[in-house]
Amino acid sequence: MKLLYMQKTLFNAVLGIVLEIVYTAAIMLVSYVVCLALYFRQWS
């Protein structure tokens, strides 16, 4: 039972870390799209 609880805790923590990294990646992606949009406007 204790092992099961520990596994669940660990699973939640790992998933949490992955989600936080995805959040930072989303911020980067939005800004990169802004860069692309600016330069696309320049080329067109």
């Binding site: 805790t9 939640n12 923590a13 998933l15 949490g16 870390i17 989600l19 936080e20 990294i21 959040y23 930072t24 990646a25 989303a26 911020i27 980067m28 939005v30 800004s31 990169y32 802004v34 860069c35 692309l36 600016l38 330069y39 320049q42």
Partner: protein, 500 residues
């Protein structure tokens, strides 16, 4: 009527200060061990001397002022503000012995910059600084990011009543767990888990880029400590530019953003409440704020034609913006390029980003996202009151871990701290202007110091006027403690002179 502090007040303050000094002296064992490991015996001796002096002073204070009295709020705040000054002097002494600083003031500036997670540096010939001193510079950031008092709380302070007063005094007004000592330990857990992951990631990138194994992982650990604790020191004078690596830049952006997230939010996300990351007012505000400010930065840089491709604009513009917004201070451009190559629009956007900062109860400085969110919600409430019929009931709420109804006292507190920050930014800029720096440059450097960022447009240098150094030290200290403890210390001295 103001009451004059009595001997018991002073004894209680000194007793807790002694405990924290003892804790601080133990942290000096880390650079000492690094010195021994790398065969730098002179540098190791510097930490032996500084650590011994700090430990003996701490023990003397504990034995001379031992008492069982409960700590008051005022005493807790004063202990915190004095702790940061004592830590600056003790840590600065060790750095001064390295011979890489022009004066003791410069070494103190460096240590305050480290503890306050600012990242402005006055170190000379940094590229040849011994590993032990490099490690200490980065450890100060790691300790300061968590909070020096939290370090002591986790290991030395028994009983949570006095602990909570010091915890609040160190600008942490939120508890992750019901018990403040458990909260401190959770903060350490998050930091250490990410330290392991970050060191391995950055070290591996360094290895792939051709660095030697021990150097790659030493740099990885140092850069991670500075990135996650939103500090900004690096082991090289060229800062992140030294690595010339896109992967290194992306990895440090992730670390910086993770460091600017509230520890309470980390707890929620790590314990299964994953939706909180998207609902929380702070994470949403940070997302929106970075995106909007980046549009300004990018527009400014595109119009000035500074960078010729989208990827270069992203690598230079976005990196400096995130570094400023999270309060880290890593740079991938030279300080002078801010002034000579960046347009005023981009510079102003970075100044705004620095001033705003990250989340409350994180390692960042500045006004912080929760306060920004509260002010925005209050503004919306007032506008609604004007637009809607007089009899309409206007209720505004925001989500921060749970739904919270907006109250006047929250708005008042958020506005007060925001005004204090703005005043601190402006006062620093005025002092800079007295020394003949242009307004925007002076404002940039002042905001960087007061919001504990560390980006520099070139003003911070060993040759700068001592008064300006003292101003920036004060700004870093007051900004990191979010004013209350500083006001308490000032109040204590006023009471000592004018009290009855």
């Amino acid at each position: 009527m103001v009451l004059k502090p009595n001997l018991d007040d002073i004894k209680n303050i000194c007793f807790y200060l002694g405990k924290i000094m003892l804790g601080l002296s133990l942290t000096m064992l880390l650079p000492l061990m690094v010195g021994v490991l790398f065969g730098e015996y002179n540098a190791a001796l510097d930490y032996l001397i500084a650590g011994e002096i700090t430990a003996i002073t701490g023990l003397l204070l504990i034995f001379l002022c031992r008492n069982d009295k409960e700590m008051s709020w005022m005493q807790g705040m004063i202990v915190v503000s004095l702790t940061w000054i004592v830590a600056m002097l003790a840590g600065g002494f060790a750095l001064y012995l390295s011979g890489h600083f022009k004066s003791f003031l410069d070494a103190c500036f460096e240590t305050m910059s480290g503890f306050a997670t600012t990242g402005l540096t006055l170190c000379q010939d940094m590229d040849h600084l011994p590993y032990a001193h490099q490690f200490w510079r980065h450890v100060t950031m790691f300790l300061g990011g968590q909070g020096i008092v939290i370090v002591a709380l986790s290991f030395f302070v028994k009983g949570s009543s006095g602990a909570f007063k010091m915890y609040v005094g160190e600008a942490r007004d939120e508890r992750v767990l019901p018990n403040v000592i458990s909260t401190s330990r959770f903060i350490w857990l998050v930091s250490l888990v990410y330290l392991a992951l970050g060191t391995v990631t950055l070290g591996s990138i360094g290895l792939l880029n051709g660095m030697r194994a021990h150097n790659a992982f030493f740099h990885g650990a140092c850069v991670f400590m500075a990135a996650f604790d939103t500090g900004g020191f690096t082991p090289q004078s060229q800062n992140i530019l030294y690595y010339h690596s896109f992967a290194y830049e992306v990895a440090t952006i992730v670390c910086m953003l993770l460091g600017s997230i509230n520890f309470k939010l980390h707890y929620q996300v790590w314990t299964g409440n994953r939706k909180e990351l998207f609902k929380n007012i702070e994470s949403s505000a940070l997302f929106v704020s970075i995106s909007l400010l980046f549009i300004l930065v990018a527009a400014g840089l595109e119009r000035s034609g500074t960078y010729s491709s989208a990827i270069t604009l992203f690598r230079k513009g976005f990196y400096q913006l995130v570094s400023g917004h999270t309060g880290t201070g890593f740079q991938t451009i030279y300080a002078q390029q801010f002034v000579n190559e960046w347009s005023d629009l981009s510079l102003v956007a970075v100044v705004f980003a620095m001033g705003l900062g990250g989340a409350i109860c994180s390692t960042t400085g500045g006004i912080k996202m929760l306060r920004l969110g509260i002010i925005y919600k209050a503004l919306r409430e007032d506008i609604k009151r004007i637009i809607l019929p007089e009899k309409a009931v206007v209720v505004q709420k925001f989500h921060h871990i749970k739904d919270i109804f907006l109250e006047d006292k929250q708005v008042r507190s958020a506005l007060l701290i925001t005004v204090c920050y703005f005043l601190l930014y402006i006062v620093g800029a005025l002092v800079g202007m007295i020394f003949h720096y242009p307004f925007l440059d002076a404002l940039f450097e002042s905001t960087s110091a007061a919001a504990n960022v560390g980006l520099s447009c070139g003003i911070t240098a060993p040759g700068m006027h001592p008064l300006l150094k003292l101003t920036y030290i004060f700004q870093m200290w007051a900004g990191r403690l979010e004013f209350m403890s500083v006001f308490a210390l000032a109040g204590f001295f006023v009471a000592a002179v004018k009290g009855k």
